[in-house]
């Protein structure tokens, strides 16, 4: 038996999102079972069935030097904007 990860596209053009998984003896059974489980209520535009063994997973990370600028939360735009306004002598009211 093979575990298939099921990805579901709800509407045309939308990204596929992980919907769940199922276990089947082969791709044909996975197809038949996934149709009934994920496609009988008009909830799917398309499905991707991917054998779990085909998925290459990455979980190890190295960020030893704490390079905050790489992160989306690294910058506080709000604080920097306030600084910039101050330097420019802006008179914008509010806090």
């Amino acid at each position: 038996m093979t575990v298939y990860e099921v990805f579901r596209q709800e509407r045309k053009g939308q990204p596929f999102a992980h919907a769940g998984s199922l276990e089947a003896p082969d791709a044909a059974f996975a197809d038949a079972w996934a149709r009934e489980q994920y496609g009988r209520r008009g909830e799917s535009e398309a499905l991707w069935l991917v054998p779990r063994t085909s998925i290459h997973q990455v979980t190890d990370w190295a960020d030893e030097f704490d390079l905050k600028y790489r992160r989306v939360d690294g910058y506080s735009i709000k604080a920097r904007l306030a600084e910039a306004r101050e330097r420019a002598g802006a008179t914008k009211s509010g806090t």
Binding site: P25, A28, F29, A32, W33, E36, Q37
Partner: protein
């Protein structure tokens, strides 16, 4: 359009409605098709929660629900002709008045080999029947047959996968052998050689088939359960 001398069924009347032998050929055909789908849908839904795997459980229950949906559409066509409603036809007739083939009545719960053999044989028989109906001069019936067939494609996909996988399993082949005389009786005699060919049987000539119109004792218990709620409160609106 109802047959001469037919008893007009009353909607909500808890008693049995007109006997099928008084109906027109068209109404009798529609009831045969509808009863097959309703009773098989009922039988297959008995596996909900206990099918061999979770995935099969979901799929099998979904297919059973589809069959009951087909039954409803067919009963509605018959009801328009018989001046009644689908529920009255589905639930207010006596067991002897049902037109289903004995194949669908059999209580096969706890024997998956027989259950999946029935599903396979029924789908093959249904395909022979539906292909003929799609060519019917009755445009209403031909249209409904085509609509039903678009769902049956996936039922066949499911049934044929199982049949291909179990083809060499003695339990499955024994189950197919046992049910074959019942399966033949799902279709009309002129369609039987075609059914035999499709399922790879040498011939449709059998000394004994379980013909439509006769019933197994299994139907009575199923009918008792299926109509219990409706009979408990005659005329109630659900």
């Amino acid at each position: 359009m109802s047959g001469v001398g037919s008893t007009k069924p009353q909607a909500g009347d808890a008693g049995p409605v007109g006997a099928s032998h008084h109906h027109s050929a068209r109404a009798t055909l529609l009831l045969s098709l509808a009863d097959d789908e309703l009773i098989l849908g009922w039988r297959d839904s008995e596996w909900t929660g206990i099918a061999p795997t979770l995935e099969e459980d979901v799929a099998f229950s979904s297919i059973a629900q589809n069959e009951i949906g087909h039954a409803r559409a067919l009963y509605e066509l018959a009801a328009a002709e018989l001046d009644t409603d689908a529920d009255a036809l589905a639930f207010d007739r006596a067991p002897s008045e049902y037109r289903c083939a004995p194949l669908v009545e059999l209580r096969l719960i706890d024997d998956w080999a027989l259950t999946i053999a029935r599903r396979y044989l029924y789908e093959e028989a249904d395909r022979v029947r539906i292909e003929a109906l799609k060519e019917s001069d009755d445009t209403e019936l031909a249209g409904l047959a085509a609509k039903i067939d678009r769902e049956e494609v996936y039922h066949r996909l499911h049934a044929e996968l199982w049949a291909a996988r179990l083809r060499d399993e003695p339990r499955f082949t024994a189950a197919v052998d046992r049910l074959w005389p019942f399966a033949l009786a799902v279709v009309d005699p002129p369609q039987r050689e075609e059914l035999a060919r499709r399922v790879g049987r040498p011939s449709a000539n059998l000394a004994q088939t379980s013909e439509r119109g006769t019933h197994t004792s299994d139907l009575t218990a199923l009918w008792e359960e299926m109509t219990e709620v409706r009979r408990s409160e005659p005329g109630a609106q659900w």
